[in-house]
Amino acid sequence: MPQEFFDGWLQTIKSNLPFRPVPAQEQRLDELLFELNEDPECISLLREMDAAGIDQAVLLVIDFGLAYKNIELTIEEIHLAHKKLLDQSDRFLAFSNVDPRRGREGLDLFEKAVREWGFSGMKLYPPCGYSPDDRSVFPYYEICRELHLPVLTHIGPTTATLPFRHTQPQYVDDAAFHFPDVNFILGHAAVTHYQDAALLAQYRPNIFLDLSGFQTAINRDEFRNVINWHLSRGLGRKLLFGSDWPIHRFWGKQRDWVEKVTALEPESLMSKEQIDDVLGNNLLGILPRAERKRAKHGT
């Protein structure tokens, strides 16, 4: 994760604390949050997936190369680091992301990632400075249509060092309209701008809502209400489990997050079938056929 991204995230967290930390505490908080993000080989993630009964996880590339200066790795090197993980373990899937402003060279890299390196979807990160409905992204959608790849785009605020423009659900609508055969996943949108997102998902068959970040809703005791909101609109088959690893590691482990979802059955909020859908079947239904491995639970 780029230092500037991390710095903005820290600023936001500190500004929301209900107390004024002394400098030594600020420094200690920096250290703890930095530690939170240190798992480049996904060793801790795999351990937690085992404990949680998660078969496979989707890893997401983000191309910060045009949004920030001083990125250590090139976007190709970042893709190759993910490819290495894909080659080492069938527990991972990966979605490629290339900033659409990289032109032909960027499109070629994306095409190589999805045709040759085993990436099984596209990630978009609009806070880097582009919109999902920008025409420069459409050639990428064409490839996604051809290969039946889903597109996951970030929704909602993020680090304080990036703009939040273009992170509302409405910016996905034009793309989803022009590419009805491409499935769009609104990242965090089951819990962020979730009422607008639910409206889109309700009326666009190719829009899905990812639950990642639902830990915040749990912390605020809003999770049941949010799930109710979606279920009452017939969106049980549009919700996809996600954990936003490693952001929420402070508040629990992968097993905790799976259990928060499975606990909805004894609470009579969801049926076993609906929970299985959210934990894996809904995602499997929109992955390219070759990627529908033996996974039951995703993240």
Binding site: L17, R28, L29, E35, N219, F250, W251, K253, D256
Partner: protein, 91 residues
């Protein structure tokens, strides 16, 4: 559970939990099995304050990310202060 001869660091933890929590509990009313969030009213941001205050008081680094994620109850907190997440009583 009323504890006697409490260790100073665990007693401080008990006092801080009572002070920060929004349940209006006195330190002596805090029981080991109480959940920090549901029973004691320590939400996610207050939890950050709690661990920073505990480390400041002890002048040592007590917590790491793996440990923090496992702290659900007051007893878990005590176990972390004691140096691990194994079984521990808060006295």
């Amino acid at each position: 559970m009323q504890n006697t001869e409490l260790r100073p660091d665990l007693e401080f933890a008990r006092q801080m939990v009572a002070k920060l929590g929004n349940k209006g509990l006195r330190p002596g009313e805090i029981r080991d099995e109480m959940a920090l969030k549901q029973d004691l009213g320590i939400d996610s941001l207050l939890f950050i304050r709690l661990i920073l205050e505990l480390e400041r008081k002890s002048s040592t680094r007590i917590f790491n990310v793996q440990m923090i994620a496992q702290i659900k109850t007051f007893k878990d907190l005590c176990a972390a202060i004691n140096g691990g997440m194994t079984e521990s009583k808060c006295e």
